[in-house]
Symmetry: C2
Subunit: 341 residues, 2 copies
């Protein structure tokens, strides 16, 4: 099953809705609306059908994933013919990021990305690469959908893409083993982890980050494919820029398994349903490794077999209204700003 | 005004509630309950009073902060004598983390922390320290309240505390100047940014992180003091361990102002109400800088004048159920796991 998110107009303005996607027919079905009709046909009053449909398939997909029976609920809602107004053609769909996660963390699970990025930067591969599945915390509030144009942040001269898979959790738990952790994965989507490389490396020199080097936008979509349709250790992946193939590989090139990275995340802190977990960049899956750079107007398409194609356009530079002025060592804000401000 | 969060029992189980805190009288007032009574007294039907009180002072404090009139709404609810069941003594209060933020980011805004931590580690202070207000993304889903005992993660032999202020946003915006950004700050709380130093430094060697070095827990509380009661550039701050004073300083020692760090965050991405922003560790405000270490059973108290005292107990070691086994270079999961798993 393929599950996505679109925006629909309501009397309260645009609202997110969970859809089941039929890529061959190029249509999506608003599942809450389909469930409402199914309940009506089963004899519920209009009020009960609406109330129950909203509870079973809530507007928030990550909230829906908290239900242990969510996948079965989606399937049941789709069993009978959905009402005509629940079926929306791709041409009329306003896509949202494939998930609205409460948290987003992103690994570096491909050895070749570690090796190639360091080769280009002229640095050794650090020992930790082979000791821990390292990750950084991404920004769950700047996710963008398939087809988005992303502003080029004014503080950067070097924007890059990253070809990644995104794992979507359908359950929670703490201190899990890889076998237990792997079972939490509900589905897989595509991530284009956009990066301002110059800012990212500048920040990293301070032993923090990535912060502004990644925080401005991450593309997620076009939709989520449930794990029963995938072999997680053999998903063909590729990336193209302006129609030219830049990268080709497979999820099988990961050095840490999906179960291992989810288990590591669960160590000493609970995971919750609806979380988004990135695998990190496929080896060769970014401009840094390939020594090629993006320019405003470029269109990046990343693709994975059995999932889909995620298209992102690199927009024009967004001007800065303010930049932090350099500091003088030894000067504090109490020295600089004598007035209360 | 001082605003906190407690847990109250409801027919649906424990629920979070926003409270106004009176530290002198050692009582808190459940503001939603007080507002409900005020609306009843003003002539609303019981149903209307309950419905409006829930909308005006929602269970989620960060959601409440999205209302432009939130502070005035809190004050109005407190104008008349609250009903007896809305008033809870400190002895009976189950504190929650002072905020339920949708996002948590944490700066390093004190120059002395940069300098002293590097002195101990035998490293130079990187140039970026004086060029950018650097930050890392914290974990908003492992916040703990005043009085919590925090498990010692089994992967660490070196747990440390960090004395910080936490800024709470009462509005949003993008690409702000410091003057505009400073006006978004609704209040200030205390943060004890607990750190597993050995894991943090190990992770940082891979140019990511902090991840497991910080993700296990951050203490936030005891409550939030609104900015009208504070001079943000002169808040006395201190930390004690087992009753012994370890650190003493002031928010005036920051090298970036509150307006500057919030403005930097707003660059090229929107801020939203309810966000939590850490100042980073006060100079000398952690064991690393002081070359002292915590042990299980230690009680850390961090304090700020006009805000309060945040107490955290370091608990016993939490055993690991699984640890990532080291990788062999060149081996992928497709090599290691021939079966689908």
């Amino acid at each position: 099953m393929k599950i996505g998110r679109i925006e629909r107009l309501s009397p309260e303005g645009p609202r997110p809705r969970t859809v089941v996607v039929n890529p061959a027919a190029e249509v999506v079905v608003d599942v809450q609306r389909a469930e409402q009709e199914r309940l009506l046909a089963a004899g519920d009053s209009p009020e009960a059908a609406l109330r129950k449909a909203r509870a079973i398939i809530p507007d928030s997909l990550s909230e829906g994933l908290g239900s242990a029976s969510f996948k079965a609920d989606l399937a049941r809602a789709m069993e009978s013919e959905p009402p005509a107004d629940a079926v929306i053609g791709f041409a009329d769909a306003t896509w949202l990021p494939a998930l609205d996660p409460p948290r987003f963390r992103d690994f570096m699970a491909f050895e070749r990305h570690h090796v190639e990025a360091r080769r280009v930067l002229g640095r050794p591969v650090p020992a930790v690469t082979y000791e821990l599945p390292t990750y950084y915390k991404g920004n769950p509030l700047t996710l963008v959908a398939d087809g988005a144009t992303v502003d080029w942040p004014g503080y950067s001269r070097w924007i890059d893409f990253e070809l990644e898979l995104g794992l979507v959790l359908g359950g929670g738990g703490v201190d899990l083993c890889p076998e237990e952790a792997g079972r939490l994965v509900f589905g897989v989507t595509l991530l284009n982890d956009l990066s301002a490389r110059d800012r990212q490396f500048h920040e990293a020199s301070g032993n923090l980050g990535p912060a502004k080097g990644k925080d401005f936008a991450t593309a997620v979509g076009p939709w989520i494919t449930t794990v029963d349709e995938l072999d997680l250790r053999a998903i063909p992946m590729s990336a193209s820029v302006n129609g030219e193939r830049w990268a080709l590989g497979s999820s099988g090139e990961m050095m840490w398994s999906v179960g291992e990275i989810v288990a590591y995340l669960s160590t000493a802190e609970p995971l919750i349903p609806g979380e988004l977990i990135g695998t990190g960049t496929m080896g060769g899956g970014c401009g840094l490794e390939l020594e090629r750079k993006l320019a405003p107007g470029d269109v990046v398409e990343i693709e994975a077999e059995g999932i889909g194609l995620l298209r992102t356009k690199i927009g024009p530079s967004r001007p800065l209204r303010w930049e932090p002025p350099a500091r003088t060592p030894g000067r504090t804000i109490a020295d600089v700003t004598p007035d209360r401000s």
